[in-house]
Amino acid sequence: MAEASSQIAAGAPIVTVNHVSLDYRGDKEPLPVLADVSMTAGRDEFVAITGPSGCGKSTLLRIIAGLTKASGGDVGVLGSPVTSPRKEITMVFQNFVLLPWRTSLENVTFALSSRNDLSDAQKQEKAKGALDECGLSGFENVYPGELSGGMKQRVGVARALATDPVVMLMDEPFSSLDDLTAERLRKDIYSMLINPSTSVKTVIMVSHNVEEIIELADKVVVLSHRPAHVAGEVMVDLPRPRNKKSEEFFGWVDKVYALLS
């Protein structure tokens, strides 16, 4: 497990985004995408980022992951700046790629190939554990082409979990799934990620689906139109599991919509 994170007090920030700005190089002139974005993600917090289409949500996530360099400001994880990808930070993509010629187990084990501290047997053990955590025990020897969309997504989550990340980033993880399958994965994902047996200490998910956000998030960061700044934050104070039919639930949905318009 990640020792660095076990020292951190509950609620203390794991991820800090300080005055981040980003301009993409356009054809003629620079395209300002993020303008002074600040936010934090705390211990055991599930944070959702939302905002109008094209406002820079994926860009912000990539900056947090260390995949894109900010033009201004900085990002810190566990107190040190993120300037390039780090092993404590992992990302699950919308249509993430599984290697079709490898079984589920091999796909997950593959993520551990650079871990010289683990023997092959330990890697397998770890990979099996992650698959089990994601509800896939028994599916170790199945190829991606033989899995449904929801199960492929679970293998992707297992692959991310196996690397013992502290920060789990997800960009629209449910958007390519049919409604029923997404519903099912949403029901499981919170406890799959935030539970004492995983190393994950904070989750940041980008989504445009406000009901999905209220079902899952402790905190919602709403971005404005491009160039994006933080239009507002909502702390969702609802017990789990959340009743999607309750009036209270829709109260929170409305709060987020109010910030979106």
């Binding site: 079984t103 028994g138 599916f139 020897n141 199945v142 190829y143 033989e146 899995l147 449904s148 929801g150 199960m151 049919d178 409604d179 029923l180 399958t181 519903e183 099912r184 994965l185 029901k187 009743n243 039919k245």
Partner: protein
């Protein structure tokens, strides 16, 4: 190839496009919505087309999880138990599944101790006119999908992707 050698009663056949996860969601949502709910409202709640929902409903009914009468859907006792079980729900359906095709035939063929391929199961069922698609290749791959998606979860069979073979778990 085909050697079922056992009389087939009127067969229960799993729809080829229904996945275990969808049935689980359906049961959860039906349970969450109260005693009885009409199928159209259920489809609306799911944001799904009635055309998408119907085969899933069929599957859930075949598995004894829901009853639908005059367009109204409700959970059976098994459905309620299923909804309350948190881990390995599909294990509850082990016996039920073994009565539904193509799982039934796969289990019969595998009971002779030898692992079976989806093609062998598809061939055996084809003898009785049970097919999910008229093209042999697609039919085989649908049978394989069904076996992978249901029997592993339920703990009925295990699967080895390298050899493409299923055996009794």
């Amino acid at each position: 190839m085909a050697e079922p050698g056992h009389p087939l009663p009127i067969a229960l056949v799993m729809p080829g496009n229904v996945r275990a996860g969808q049935v689980i969601s359906l049961v959860e949502i039906t349970g969450g919505l109260g005693a009885k709910i009409d199928a159209q409202r259920l489809a609306d709640e799911l944001g799904a087309d009635l055309a998408v929902l119907l085969p899933i409903l069929d599957a859930a009914e075949m598995l004894g999880l829901v009853k639908s009468e005059k367009g109204e859907v409700s959970l059976t006792d098994l459905g309620i138990k299923f909804q309350k079980t948190s881990k390995n729900k599909l294990m509850l359906l082990k016996d039920k599944l073994a009565t539904i095709e193509p799982f039934r035939t796969a289990m019969v063929l595998a009971s002779k101790g030898k692992p079976v391929t989806a093609a062998q199961v598809a061939d055996a069922l084809g003898e009785y006119g049970i097919r999910w698609h008229y093209k042999q290749e697609l039919n085989e791959s649908l049978v394989k999908m069904l076996l992978v998606h249901w029997t592993i979860y339920a703990g009925l069979m295990s699967y080895d992707g390298k050899s493409g073979k299923f055996q009794k778990a």
